[in-house]
């Protein structure tokens, strides 16, 4: 029996959350230290998993662990990662680590940053969320996947409603929770239907997804249930026209939660849609790929265009997320090797990039007390570090060669071209729009003259913030310069999907 590393990664946040909850409320710094320690350990462990997978033979599912949980119904605690999920586990580790750094909070009333109000509860709920996210990425059991999926949804409500932006937090939190809950229960009915049909076909009660792949669902069954299952999960992936909760949620959420939300949670939706929808119902996926491609294509262009006209920095990033997640969905909808590989890399790349965007935006807002782009300016002089981070994020967002965005987006467009060249042409418009709004905003926020009312009382970012920025930038540049650290890995995961799709 090897060291159960995936269980440790998944359950460590829960344990840490409980420990944090039991600490006295007045010990704020100790609470933060425990949170940071737990996050650091999780980051190191997930990096270890990633490296082991990368340096190993890179085939199939690895680090498998299986424990009987409810044998009567075939529910097992079945963990394992493949080339698709290993980068996402690493991504979650990164976002968790940087999220804790950003939320550290100093009790200095002059520079309000991070979380000062009840940090104990904040970190506990944040870790509950993180544990749920890890659980979804590593679960190979459909029941457990749902279990963790729901765990990842409800802390969002509290995190946004309690620590969010006062103006919209109640509305946004409730909207987000209801959207995600509706999506997940719709998918749940589909999952239960799959479960029973598998039982009829094979006589085995099992939620094991590797078994379900071989259940031999009829084409008619797949055609009926693919859409509820895929779209149910894809709601969390921010697929158009069910994306509406997402920008509202981003704007209302506190910085670290925005990072989690855009960086990891939306990947959760896309990943679950891919793993449960496409991989278990491949015939249904082929039947409906055109519709997904249509939705995704609209999301890519529409999201970018809406982002272009925003004046609130957070709304701008929120809609750019819709656009970029649309690219992920577009990659998935191609159902060919190139497109899916691009989608896999894009999930990681976008996760790190948005986390960085939201982190920097949070730093600016904490100090300038405004996020309205017209009211900002001159930030490059005050916080040069944050400015560099934002610019790197912007370059990734535009898909510049040398950064991870290019490595991700180029294959997606290639894949789409192979299926439907017109969609590729239309959706590539988004690159131009993205470049436009990113550059305009960088110029305005960082390089235009500092408005008078901000002069004097806006300070530089803290050391912890800088560590977070460096960590995030490092990954984006590394993948951009050395695609071989991620692309071959993702493509092994894609081979697995292609096998299920029948080598189409």
């Amino acid at each position: 029996m090897n060291f159960p590393i995936l269980s440790v990664i998944t359950f460590l946040p829960f344990v840490a959350g409980v420990i944090i909850l039991m600490m006295p409320a007045t010990r704020k710094n100790e609470t933060r230290a425990v949170a940071l320690a737990a996050a650091t350990i999780d980051l190191l462990l997930s990096a270890w998993v990633y490296l082991q997978y990368l340096l190993g033979d890179m085939t199939g599912y690895q680090f498998l662990e299986q424990y009987n949980w409810l044998p009567q119904l075939g529910i097992t605690l079945f963990f394992g990662v493949d080339g698709m999920s290993a980068p996402l586990v690493l991504l979650t580790g990164i976002v968790m680590f940087t999220g804790v750094l950003i939320s550290w909070g100093n009790d200095d009333p002059q520079v309000m940053s991070g979380i000062q109000d009840r940090p104990r509860e904040f970190f506990a709920f944040l870790f509950l969320l993180a544990g749920g996210v890890f659980g979804v990425f590593v679960s190979l059991d459909l029941f457990m996947l749902f279990f963790f999926y729901e765990i990842a949804v409800f802390p969002m409500y509290l995190l946004i409603a309690i620590w969010g932006w006062v103006k919209t937090r109640e509305y946004a939190a409730m909207k987000l929770t209801l959207y995600l809950f509706i999506g997940s229960v719709v998918a749940l009915v589909g999952a239960l239907a799959m479960y029973w049909v598998q039982y009829q076909n094979t006589g085995v009660l099992s939620f094991n997804m590797l078994e379900m792949e071989k259940a031999g669902f009829s084409t008619a069954f797949q055609n009926i249930w693919f859409l509820p299952v895929f779209l149910g999960f894809a709601v969390l992936g921010g697929i158009w026209p069910f994306h509406n909760w997402s920008p509202d949620g981003h704007v209302a959420a506190p910085t670290a939660v925005s990072m989690f939300h855009a960086g990891v949670l939306m990947k959760l939706g896309a990943f679950a849609a891919l793993r449960v929808g496409v991989m278990l119902l491949p015939e249904g996926a082929k039947e409906w790929a055109w519709l997904i491609m249509l939705f995704a294509g609209v999301a890519v262009v529409y999201g970018a265009y809406i982002a272009f006209v925003q004046t609130d920095l957070k709304y701008m990033i929120g809609f750019s997320s819709v656009s970029h997640m649309g690219l992920v969905m577009l990659g998935i909808s191609t159902l060919n090797e190139t497109g899916l590989t691009g989608a896999g890399v894009q999930m990681f790349s976008h996760g790190v990039m948005t986390a960085l965007f939201f982190a920097v935006t949070g730093m600016i807002y904490d100090r300038a007390h405004t996020r309205m782009i017209p009211e900002l300016g001159g930030m490059a002089k005050i916080m040069p570090f944050a400015a560099i981070g934002f610019i790197i994020g912007g370059l990734v967002s535009m898909g510049m060669p040398g950064f991870s965005g290019f490595v991700a987006e180029f294959p997606i467009f290639m894949g789409v071209w192979r299926e439907q060249w017109l969609v590729a042409v239309i959706s590539s418009i988004s690159i131009v729009i993205t470049a436009a709004y990113i550059m305009m905003n960088i110029r305005k926020v960082f390089f235009s003259p500092l408005p008078e009312n901000l002069e004097g009382h806006v300070g530089d970012v803290t050391v912890l913030d800088k560590v977070a920025i460096v960590t995030l930038c490092l990954f984006m540049i590394a993948i951009g310069l050395f695609p071989s650290v991620m692309v071959p890995m993702v493509s092994t995961g894609v081979e697995n999907i292609m096998r299920l799709l029948g080598g189409a």
Binding site: N68, L70, P71, L158, T177, V185, L188, V189, L192, A193
Partner: protein, 483 residues
């Protein structure tokens, strides 16, 4: 006749009776300020009974004892253990009730109704069944109206009495018809005598409808729910919690045994009626919970909708269905007792019961707020709490038998549920007291509350995470209904 197995089959009931007598004997000798200890005695005694029964009273092969009055099997046993657990928790919550906690009669009545519920879970004869139902109900009528000086409470007691009597009379009429057409009162013999071969479908429908009126009242499904909100609001809060959990679960216990054992031949008929009731109950319960401002009324309507969810398992009429009902009851008993316990603990200090009064609770008592989070998220069906798995199992059973429409209704309803449960949590966590001086208004917990609530929270989390043993026991219970 009185063999060891007979003794084992009613061991918990004998001990409960003895415990009741013990309280009856000692209570007059205690001084006014010592009488609260009757609560410790009741809860401790029930805990001992629970352990003793688990050690010595476990059933083996299903057998009929006491001349066919009692069925000694896992279904009855597991449910009895749940009821005893609920009784112990209720006794603890009752202890610091301002008016009821120092009255020995309250605990005695609680034990008497617990006795009745235990017998409801195991009765296998119509006569025994009716006696058990009345034994469980009459003490609850009194307990609901226990606060003599409180108008709402007397109203609650009286209303419950009237509704309860009418419902049980209607059911008794149904029993008499069953006896008339089958010539037997033994549930296990009725199945052979009361078949579609010799009873016309219309008559079968009529008889089942009469029985459903009585049981529908016990489990408070729409349209037999009208008593529930008023009674829950008026009755002492721990009693309301007990009514909404153990009493409801006992109704389900009877429903399972009566319909599955005695009327399998008419399963189409009763499943149809119950499916309709389940759908209406979930929908009406949840929709009416939306505008509530009083937390006890909100919980009352939520409990009406939960009866609807659980009924999906009954409608499914297969092993997984029965298992999921029993599992649902286990999760629901822990969850709802926790919710009512928190309401009790809060109103004891503040005297307030409106949802808006919960503003700032997370700063007044973070632990209590956290427990409330667990209770309400479990009610809403979120993991890692019991409500999530319970709902998934019930829905799985529904999908298995092809009741997709009913499951869809259930799912739409759980979305409504999420909205109003989160709405309460919004007050707890987000809003603040008008003066923002929460530190000046703490909500301390006395020891009985701490013990009861912590045990219940652990129960809710255990049922929701390590669900295998609970499922195994429920499954063993469901097994005896089909073999």
């Amino acid at each position: 006749m009185f063999t060891p197995i007979t003794f084992a089959s009613i061991l918990p009931e004998i001990l409960i009776l003895a415990l009741g007598l013990l309280i009856l004997i000692f209570e007059p000798f205690w001084k006014e300020d010592q009488r609260r200890n009757a609560g410790w005695l009741t809860a401790g005694g029930l805990f001992v009974i629970l352990v003793v029964s688990l050690l010595f009273g476990r059933p083996g092969e299903p057998t009929s004892t006491l001349g066919g009055m009692i069925r000694f099997d896992w279904l009855g046993f597991f449910l009895k253990m749940l009821f005893i657990f609920a009784g112990a928790a209720t006794a603890l919550l009752l202890m610091d009730h301002e008016k009821a906690g120092r009255r020995g009669e309250a605990y005695l009545l609680l034990l008497a109704s617990l006795l009745g519920m235990n017998l409801m879970a195991v009765a296998s004869d119509l006569v025994m069944l009716y006696l058990a139902i009345e034994t469980a109900s009459i003490p609850l009528y009194i307990l609901s109206g226990f606060l003599l000086t409180d108008e709402r409470s007397t109203e609650a007691g009286f209303k419950y009495l009237l509704f309860g009597t009418v419902a049980s009379t209607v059911m008794l009429y149904g029993f008499s018809l069953v006896y008339g057409f089958s010539g037997t009162t033994d549930l296990y013999a009725i199945a052979n005598a009361f078949t579609s071969g010799n009873v016309s479908p219309l008559l079968g429908f009529g008889v089942l409808a009469l029985l459903i009126v009585g049981l529908g009242f016990k489990v408070s499904v729409v349209p037999f729910h009208f008593w529930a909100p008023d009674v829950y609001q008026g009755a002492p809060t721990p009693v309301a919690g007990y009514l909404s959990t153990a009493s409801k679960a006992a109704g389900f216990a009877v429903m399972l045994r009566l319909f599955f054992i005695a009327f399998p031949d008419f399963s189409g008929t009763w499943a149809m009626i119950l499916a309709a009731l389940a759908a209406i109950s979930m929908t009406v319960g949840n929709l009416l919970a939306l505008p509530q401002t009083n937390i006890k009324r909100l919980l009352a309507f939520s409990s009406i909708s939960h009866a609807g969810y659980a009924m999906i398992g009954v409608v499914a009429f297969n092993t997984l269905g029965a298992t999921s009902v029993v599992f649902y009851l286990a999760a629901y008993i822990a969850t709802n007792l926790l919710a009512f316990g928190i309401v009790m603990a809060f109103s004891r200090i503040t005297g307030l019961e409106e949802i808006t009064d919960y503003a700032g609770l997370s700063r007044r008592n973070p632990l209590l707020a956290l427990m409330m989070l667990a209770a309400f998220l479990s009610l809403a069906g979120m993991p890692p709490f019991g409500g999530f798995v319970a709902k998934v199992f019930v829905f799985a059973a529904g999908v298995q038998t092809g009741y997709i429409w009913l499951v869809v209704v259930g799912i739409l309803n759980s979305i409504i549920g999420v909205y109003y449960y989160l709405n309460v949590l919004k007050y707890v966590y987000l809003y603040r007291m008008p003066e923002q001086d929460e530190e000046q208004h703490p909500v301390p917990l006395t020891r009985p509350y701490t013990i009861a609530l912590v045990v219940l929270v652990l129960g809710v989390i255990l049922v929701g995470t390590v669900f295998a043993p609970f499922f195994g026991w429920s499954d063993a219970g469901a097994f005896v209904l089909f073999n």
